[in-house]
């Protein structure tokens, strides 16, 4: 395998694919590294081999991945698949784990396009077998043509929850209930952003068509739900919750039998590699998440590192792709393949289109805020799924004087398990901030240290 290239792109979702393809076309020696076996990222996962009828069920937004993957494959960029990044430092030396062997690759420029992960939704019983993320349900559909066979409930908030409901309806899955945890106050708070979102009316129409399809299918939808919990002994048996105030201003407690519960409350940037490279991150109050600080070209705070797509703030697939293209232009300019005028000329149309795709975000962010109850869960709720640390223990650590997640980790083992804090990081920061009356910026985030993935001594030695 090659051990050096001019431009290394990490992540084969829309942003990474577009960045690698454009940069290769502009004459750079490009390698793209990705953990999956085929290009597409999570959004276009398995686009190259998904078959009918599943392809059509997934909708035309999914099929959009096809020309993008084709564009990448014929661009001349080197594609390194099935490769986990287990090491990255501020000198941009990148350690890859491929088929049980460790490799190192260096580059003059790095484009990080590591995408998003689902925002953790810690609630009582979320660790029970049978509870998964909505994204997991979608991945099973895309990559294995699998659907729930028993009673299925979707719960949480956000566009992806509507999308998977719509996709399941196409396949013919009977959804037993949709439990919406979006606070009632969100609609009036989102409306002022609606005029700004009008250029992206296609997003609005799509969302509306999902809502109408769900209504038409007669799926029970419970709104403004609180006290959501998964219940069962060693296996999910039921989902219980309290409904929002209805017309009679009353709340009702409801319990629904379920074998599968798919949770979702938005996505957050996957920051592990930007943090490892030393990139500055900032708290985004609107999106309630950390994001990598960057300029319009994707330039991060570290000279040779550019960032594109959801890892630099949630923007969605189409905007991510355009950001990838801007990154490619910037990298090609920095490495003397094109001059400033060529860069700016090529960027004009991309920027205009990007603006349109970004115009929907403030509205969506305000319409689907994560419910506070699942950002700072109650004491008994498990926060760290690996080391099994609950919210009460984290609050206790904060009261003892832990001022940030790194101290909490030392005292409680929270974030010290195999996922290295990916599933608890944002919750721990929120709990410490809440308990100590600090801001998220003051509290900060887990320090990221390699190895990012468990790696055996044998794999490390096997180069």
């Amino acid at each position: 395998m090659k051990d050096h290239c001019q431009l290394l792109v990490i992540g084969a979702g829309p942003a990474g694919l577009a960045a690698a393809a454009d940069a290769a076309r502009l004459g750079l020696d490009v390698a793209l590294v990705d953990e999956q076996k085929a290009p597409g990222g999570q959004i276009y996962r398995n686009i190259g081999s998904a078959r009918e009828p599943v392809r059509s069920y997934l909708g035309k937004d999914y099929l959009r991945g096809e020309p993008l993957v084709a564009e990448f494959l014929r661009s001349g960029a080197t594609y390194i698949n099935n490769a986990s990044v287990w090491y990255l430092d501020e000198r941009l030396e990148t350690g890859l784990l491929i088929d049980g062997a460790s490799h190192f690759i260096t580059a003059e420029r790095l484009i990080l396009a590591t995408g998003a992960q689902e925002r953790p939704m810690p609630l009582p019983g979320w660790q029970l077998p049978g509870v998964m993320t909505a994204g997991a349900g979608q991945i099973l559909l895309k990559s294995a043509a699998m659907i729930p066979s028993g009673r299925v409930v979707l719960a949480g908030s956000g566009p992806l929850l509507l999308l998977i409901a719509w996709q399941y309806l196409q396949v013919g899955v009977k959804i037993n209930a949709i439990i919406d945890t979006t606070p009632r106050s969100s609609l009036p708070e989102a409306l002022p952003y609606l005029p700004r979102a009008l250029p992206a009316f296609d997003y609005l129409l799509k969302g509306l068509s999902f809502v109408l399809a769900i209504k038409k299918a007669g799926i029970p939808v419970y709104k403004a739900v609180v006290d959501l919990r998964a219940e069962g002994h060693e296996l999910l048996e039921s989902v219980s919750f309290t409904t929002g105030r209805g017309k009679s201003n009353e709340r009702t407690e409801i319990s629904i039998e379920a074998e599968t519960l798919l949770l979702h409350q938005g996505v957050i940037p996957n920051l592990r590699l930007p943090l490892a490279a030393g990139c500055e991150v900032e708290w985004d109050e609107q999106q309630q998440s950390w994001k990598t600080t960057k300029d319009i070209w994707g330039q991060s705070s570290i000279d040779r590192v550019l960032v594109a797509g959801d890892c630099s703030g949630i923007v969605g697939a189409r905007a991510g792709e355009l950001q990838g293209r801007l990154c490619a232009l910037q990298a090609a300019h920095q490495l003397n393949k094109i001059d400033l005028q060529q860069r700016d000329r090529a960027a004009t149309r991309i920027k205009r289109s990007l603006q349109r795709h970004l115009s929907i975000r403030p509205f969506l962010d305000a319409l689907y805020p994560p419910a506070r109850a699942y950002q700072v869960p109650e004491d008994e709720t498990l926060v760290c799924r690996c080391e099994e640390v609950n919210a009460g223990q984290i609050r206790q650590a904060a009261r003892m004087g832990c001022v940030g997640p790194n101290q909490v980790k030392a005292f409680t083992r929270c974030g010290m398990g195999p996922c290295q804090g990916c599933l608890c990081g944002s919750t721990v920061s929120a709990l410490v901030a809440d308990e100590t009356g600090s801001t998220m910026e003051q509290v900060g985030y887990f320090r990221v240290r390699p190895p990012f993935k468990p790696i055996t001594l044998g794999e490390l030695a096997n180069t």
Binding site: E35, A145, C386
Partner: protein
């Protein structure tokens, strides 16, 4: 808990989960195969011995750690099924491999 969408025909392979033989579609992940075969857990946690199934299916959560072909701590969602693969539920912490 999960089933396949009806497809015209699909290539399959044989593998073993907990010492029983199963036939699963080619190209799917180990985690998907274990769900498809109806298992109620892929591991028991080291701290409280609680059962877990895959949670994120995208390599983030590490809840799908299994012992595969004798090697513990493998992310079942990141590995593709292979003919004759031996998949075992991981109970508690992994143990060091014995010298063979």
């Amino acid at each position: 808990m999960f089933r396949r969408v009806d497809e015209t025909s699909v290539d399959t392979l044989k593998l073993r989960i907990e010492d029983r033989e199963y036939e699963v579609p080619v190209g799917i992940s180990v985690a998907a195969a274990v769900l498809l075969c109806g298992f109620n857990k892929v591991r028991n946690t080291p701290v409280t011995d609680s059962p877990r199934l895959p949670y994120c299916m995208m390599g983030i959560c590490f809840d799908c750690l299994m012992t595969i072909d004798g090697i513990p701590n493998q992310q079942a969602c990141q590995l593709e099924v292979r003919e004759n693969m031996a998949i075992e539920i991981q109970r508690g912490t992994a143990e060091l491999l014995q010298q063979r």
